[in-house]
Structures are given as C-alpha cells and as structure tokens.
Subunit: 320 residues, 2 copies
C-alpha cells in the first residue's frame, strides 16, 4: 500500500493533471455509475470537534475512496491545523486498499481545479487581470488553476491580514514562477470594478466586495463560503450576472450561503442557476457567449472530484 | 503517521495485551462515553462486493477509529482474500490521524480475546481439554486466548477439510509452543461430550455438534456464526446451559443465528440470556458458580473491542 504525503503531492502532481481529473470527475458525476452514501459525522464533544467520513465510488474510475476529516477548531490555540484529512483509496475490482494519502493539498488542488475548469468555459479568453479576495491555503490552488487556464498579466491580492496576502504573493512569484505583476491591495473594491476575473476564497459571513462595481465581461468564482450562513458575494453579483453556474446543484442548495441567504430573503430564485459544471463540460449549457457577459460560478466541492483527483495522484505516485 | 502491518502485529503484540484491551473495552462499552454511529455500507455491484465503514470513539480511551472493510466474495476465484480490512486511528484530543493498521490479524486477536475474557469468568478453573470446531484463521486467536486463560493439556481439532485442522495443529505446536497434546478428530461428536470446553468457529448454517452430548461443567464459546442465517450450536446447548452470556445483547439480537433461529421457532427466549461480557467484567453477573454449571458464551464482536485493541497495538508499535 502506498502512503502519500502532502509534500509528495506538491512535488509530483501538477495542476494540469488535476484540471484533467476534475473535468473527468464532472463528466462522471453526470453520466457515470457512482455511489456517494450520506456522510457520517461523529461529534467529539470533549474537544468541540467533529469526525467526518465520506465514502464514494465510481464504476468507471474503478476505485472507491473514503475521505476522513477531523475538524478540531480548538487546534488553533495549539498552533495546529484545525482540519486534518486523509483519503483511503480502494481498488474496486479486488477490494485491495491501495493508498492512503494526505488530503489537505489534494483539497487545495481539486478546489482550484474545479474553479479552473469553470473558468476555462466561463472566463473571457482575453482575461488578463484577476483579483483574489482571501489569501489562505485555498487561494494557492485557485490562482494556480487560473494561471493554467488563462494568460494572466496582473494579479491583485486582498486579505484582511496583509501578511497573508504578501505570503501568497511570494508563493505566486516563487513557486508558481509567475512572470506578471502581483500587487497587494488595501481594499478589494479598489479593483473589483476593474478586473476580468474575481476569485473569493474566504469564510466570510458578509459579502467581501461591492457587487455593483462589476464591469461587463467579468467572471466571478466563489469558492470560500461552504455553509448556509456564509456569504462572500452580495445579491448584486447574482442580479448582474448573465450566467450563474454551480459545481453541483444539490451541494449548493445544501451549503452555499451565497445562494441560500438571498433566496431566503426572496431576492434570488434557484431557477436562475443555469446548470452545473458537468453541463459546461458536456456542452449541455454553453460557456461564455460574448465578451460582455458577466458570469458567476459557485463551488462547494463534490466527492467525485476528490475521488478522481485521488486516483490521478495515486497513478502519478505509483510511477515514482 | 505509523503504518502497521499484520506481520508486525503478529511479531510484537501478545495475546495477553489483547486480553487486557478487551477486558477494558467491555468495561468502557458499559460505563464510558462512547460513540459508534451506524455503519455505512456501499455496494460495488459490478463485483458483487461491499465496502463497510465503521467509526467508533471512546472519550476514556482518547482515540477514534474507523474500520474499513472490503468484502469481495469473488476474490476466492482469484486466490485473494475476500475480506480486506484496515483501521485508521485518530487522536481524539487533536484530530491527528496517528496510525493506519491492517485489521485482519487484529480481528483474529480481538475475537480470540473476547472469548478468552469470557472463558476466564465462565470456564472451569480446572479446564484441561478443549475441542475446537472450525480450524480457519479465527481459530488461531481462539486457541491462543484459551491457552492464556486456562492450563489446557489436550486440544482436539475438527474441520471438514482435514488439512486445515492439521495446519492449525502445527500452528498450536510451533507458533504457540503448546506443550500438551493436539489431536485432529474425524467427528466432533466423538469428543463433544468429553471435553471441558468447546469452541465453535465456523460459518455453518446447521449446528456443528450434538448439543445433547454435553456433560455438566462444560463451557461452550460460539464465535463463528455472525449472520441471522448461521447456526453453530443447536437448541439443546441453549436448553442445557445454566448460564447464557453474550458479548453485546444488541449485536447478538441483530446477528446471532444461534439465538435468532430458535427464537423464531419459539424454542428459546432472549430473556434467558443473563447478560453481556461487561456484566462479567464488572461483576454485575457472577461468573461460573459451581463445577457442574454448563455455560454458553456467544460473540459476534463489538466496535469498542476493535478500538481499544487498535489503540493497544498502536501503543506497542510506537515503542518499537
């Protein structure tokens, strides 16, 4: 059995491979013979923690995975990660357990790739500028994927704690070897009306920029809020958008406060959502149709993306 | 994170340690702050296989475990094990995933230890002879535990395929370094009325010996049948027994055909079961009360025994 660490994944698995895996996952999610039982949650009351167990299976891919996540918020006081995640991969032909892998960087990569695949279909071909709001771990995958699918020239970064934005800037320039300009800004609204693409990757419960500022042709990707109570984009984004897409409708209707909060206020209807990532990949919903379209893509993640990405990582690492 | 193989467990973890772990597990099962969500089953239709996910937690023990089992019956045609099992252990204080271990030998050991703890309380102190019916992998743990808790002089082995009994005989003499006599018999009924202890470890759907033969003072341990359709002991064993105990009442009422089949026929009432392993360990139900008592112990296994045994194995292996 292979044991695969975050460090090894960082070293050997490219964003290009993850983009292909997520595109495949989106297809299989719609067309394949999949299983994804309801996840089990087990509370660890003493630590105010939670254990989550998320199994998945795709006949086409030929593997089952179970993602095991411990969420221990009090770890922050210990200088430890509050979320610690592993994936156990099992060969679906023989039942052999073939790999255990760290799932932190995998999650960063696959979440980036989900946005990246969406941007491939929805962002303007001539997208040159991008604003990233929220500069934590997830932002690394987001910008990594954006740089793969579009030829960016300038990246603006905003984070309430400026040092995190500076640290992401160094990552983009050093690790991603970006040749363009990276600028840390003091206020996202300075740039929100000026860029071709906006990525939000925060845990915010209030919108992180003024949706009224958005210019025609902008593509917005919201990946940070993943609870009904979280909201990164205001209702003006939804109102101004010509095309609203999501990774999975079911997941977003469970978790995406960006939709659920305005829906509860009667300011937005789920019927406005034109489709899922699978629709873009399969061509059931057209991608961007003209240069003036405003497009919004919302992602909360889906198990098939974890499974197919994990299998891709396993295949890459087996060759090492 | 430690990765622990069956071979390492075989080499470094003793049955004595497992017996202590199971005794602890029985106590905690009754008195502790535990969680054990309903297990998730995911069918792999194409292979007629099943994936099982079984999480558990004990605040007292301070760890969570999830047992991941793949059951692929068609593996028999491939010369592969049909059941392949792993346990992921997580520190319940920090959520850190600390060990992944093979769970095949662990299951053999903990199932043996469950019977061993029961026998410690229920078998005659002067138990010298033991008949083992069913000589597969599980029997190794059964006899290993019996030898720890009682000073056996003679072990009789029966298996429909004689070579498996011969192989178990070699294991007992060589690996367990047993000094007494080991004899393979052609018919369990030859010895069922003659021994101090009987262990059944089969998947049989029909009783494997004649319960009418049992002599006063015998202790019978049934561990093989684990489905409502399986039955190793006939109703005469239940009728002749002065004390009937089980590992967990809930588990046995779900799975133990030895009880459920005669209950369905109106030949046995669950009220006759005097208690659980925890009752013996905690002294709530007295163990053997005189030398003529016939005692019957039925086990289908319980998650707390897996968890505490896994933690014990982790502690032993950490010191290596």
């Amino acid at each position: 059995m292979l044991v695969i660490t975050d460090e090894e994944i960082k070293k050997h698995v490219t964003m290009k491979q993850c983009l292909a895996a997520v595109e495949e996952a989106a297809k299989i999610y719609r067309t394949g013979n999949n299983k994804q039982p309801i996840r089990t949650a087990m509370n660890i009351d003493k630590q105010n923690g939670t254990m989550l167990y998320m199994p998945s299976y795709s006949e086409e891919v030929g593997y089952t995975a179970v993602k095991i996540v411990s969420v221990f918020p009090e770890n922050r006081n210990r200088g430890m990660k509050s979320l610690q995640s592993k994936i156990l991969l099992t060969d679906a032909e023989t039942g052999a357990h073939v790999a255990l892998m760290d799932a932190s960087w995998l999650t960063v990569m696959r979440t980036g790739a989900i946005s990246g695949v969406a941007a491939k279909y929805l962002a303007r071909e001539d997208t040159r500028t991008c604003l990233v709001i929220g500069c934590g771990e997830q932002a690394r995958g987001q910008i990594g994927a954006a740089l793969e699918v579009r030829e960016l020239e300038t990246v603006y970064l905003y984070n309430p704690t400026r040092s995190k934005a500076e640290s992401l800037k160094a990552y983009i320039l050093d690790e991603l070897a970006f040749n363009g300009k990276v600028e840390v800004v003091e206020d996202p609204d300075e740039k929100a009306g000026d860029v071709d693409m906006i990525i939000t990757a925060t845990n915010s419960v209030t919108p992180v920029f003024d949706g009224n500022l958005i210019k025609p042709g902008t593509h917005i990707s919201g990946i940070g809020s993943f609870k009904p109570s979280m909201q990164e984009v205001d209702v003006n984004v939804l109102k101004k958008a010509d095309k609203i897409m999501c990774d999975t409708f079911e997941g977003c209707m469970e978790e995406a406060g960006d939709f659920l909060i305005p829906m509860e206020k009667g300011e937005f209807s789920e019927e406005t959502i034109e489709g899922e990532l699978a629709d873009l990949v399969l061509g059931a919903v057209p991608g961007r149709e003209d240069n003036d379209e405003i497009t919004f893509f919302k992602s909360v993640g889906f198990a098939m993306a974890d499974l197919v990405t994990a299998v891709e990582i396993y295949r890459v690492m087996k060759k090492q």
